[in-house]
């Protein structure tokens, strides 16, 4: 759907014990650790930010507003690197 986010097809990545290591089209490799790995998993298919927060809240049992406050900066960073894009 318009406004949904997804992984950029060009991004290369590996799952490690310390998190998910991404090599985005722009910039150097970056590690996303902790719940960032869950975000990355959820972005395997196009997802809205609201759905993403709901899924993380369900998976972790955490507070939705706290999760949303954590997720948005991460998504902004990943978009800036070209690792996450708008779904067509």
């Amino acid at each position: 759907m318009p406004g949904d986010l997804m992984r950029a097809p060009e991004v290369l990545w590996r799952r490690t014990l310390r998190g998910v290591l991404l090599r985005p089209p722009r910039g150097a490799a970056v590690m996303i650790d902790g719940s960032g790995g869950l975000v990355w998993d959820a972005l395997a298919s196009p997802t809205s930010v609201e759905d993403l927060v709901d899924r993380l809240a369900a998976a972790t049992g955490g507070d939705r507003s706290v999760i949303a406050a954590d997720v948005r900066p991460l998504l902004d960073r990943l978009r800036g690197l070209g690792a996450v894009v708008d779904s067509p």
């Binding site: 950029a8 490690t16 014990l17």
Partner: protein, 368 residues
């Protein structure tokens, strides 16, 4: 050679139906050895997976070492994949198709997680008719090739591979065949281009060999890559044998057509001894029953793993090259390479090949 530490073997067999769990964390004195072996055998990803699911038990400090090694191996793999995507895209835009070989292809197609298979370079199969153009396209930006061509036309007609240090200093090996020497010349290269296994890497459509050819490639790589095969290469053989869609009849047909049954039989034997087990497959009894004739024994003996050397294996390849004219051209390339090639070897600090050949012959006699 000292057998690998049980933790190293546990990593090499992790995820197989019959893996070999070690008794417990290695003591501090053994840990340095495990780290060295895991690095040398390309098992950082497998060890991390074995540690994560509890198959291999380690101290917290050792676990930190494992995590660090895994991240380093993963960063290397991603750097190589990025360079490879750039290279494949450039070649594709000029109408040159390639097939991905060895670690990078098998990581994505044969393992449950690509992170289980470390690799340190990218290997591509290029049609011999395209190899000169491919080298020119990939070196145009100033990326150097390793040495220069021995003589004009040698790469296309007789070479095993051309190494190019591509973007980000990534080693790109452009293969014409799987191996140097006699068994490389026996390959029927057209077999490898009839079909492929496509997949997507970094948004780029790439093609690898079909499982049967990946299996043959794994056997050649394990046997002829180093004097002592890396466990990651032997694991590739085992991993491919676990594939339900590996058609043993096709492998046997290929091996017969390429006259490389001795290679498959020897590679399976080495893998079984190193890993302690092979998955059930019709190829296992076939290989065990395969009779290796005197001629193939002699050809195998020219390779480093069997007491020979690379110059000796290359020289022995003359026996297999078709036609007197081609044999002479090949020998000329080996014995009388161009001055630029000889100079490049000297500049790179490599000894003259005739000296390596004599050394190989002497070592072979010593081993016998």
């Amino acid at each position: 050679m000292t057998p690998p530490h049980p933790v190293t073997v546990a990593a090499a067999t992790h995820g197989l139906p019959r893996s070999v769990p070690p008794p417990g964390p290695p003591d501090a004195g053994d840990w340095w050895r495990v780290r060295e072996e895991v690095g040398r055998h390309g098992l950082a990803g497998l060890l991390a997976a074995a540690y994560e699911d509890g198959t291999v038990r380690l101290t917290d400090e050792q676990g930190e070492d494992v995590a660090h090694g895994q991240v380093r191996a993963a960063a290397t793999a991603l750097r190589i994949e990025a360079a490879l995507v750039t290279a494949v895209d450039r070649l594709g835009r000029h109408g040159i198709s390639v097939r991905l070989l060895k670690g990078l292809a098998t990581a994505h197609l044969d393992y449950p997680d690509p992170g289980w298979r470390d690799f340190s370079d990218a290997d591509l199969l290029v049609d011999p008719d395209d190899i000169d153009r491919a080298v020119a396209l990939l070196t145009v930006d100033g990326h150097p090739r390793d040495l220069t061509e021995r003589r004009k036309g040698f790469d296309r007609r007789f070479g095993k591979a051309v190494t190019i240090y591509g973007p980000d200093h990534v080693e790109l090996d452009l293969h014409r065949t799987f191996a140097r020497g006699a068994f490389g010349f026996r390959q029927r290269l057209d077999d490898l281009w009839r079909e492929s296994t496509p997949f997507t890497l970094g948004g780029c459509a790439v093609h690898a060999l079909v499982p049967e050819d990946r299996f043959l490639n794994a056997c050649f790589a394990a046997l002829f890559g180093d004097a002592f095969p890396r466990l990651a290469l032997l694991r590739d053989i085992t991993q491919l044998l676990t594939r339900s869609d590996l058609d043993a009849d096709v492998v046997v047909q290929r091996a017969t057509r390429w006259r490389c049954g001795a290679v498959i039989a020897a590679a399976l034997d080495v893998a079984a001894r190193a890993l302690g087990w092979l998955p059930p497959s019709p190829l296992v009894p076939w290989a065990a029953a395969h009779r290796v004739g005197w001629r193939d024994r002699a050809l195998l003996a020219t390779y480093p793993q069997f007491g020979g050397s690379y110059p000796l294996a290359m020289l022995a390849g003359t026996v297999v090259v078709d036609g007197i004219g081609a044999k002479l051209d090949y020998l000329r390339g080996l014995v009388l390479p161009d001055r630029q090639y000889r100079s490049a070897r000297l500049v790179a600090g490599r000894r003259p090949e005739w000296r390596l050949l004599l050394q190989g012959l002497a070592w072979g006699r010593g081993r016998q």
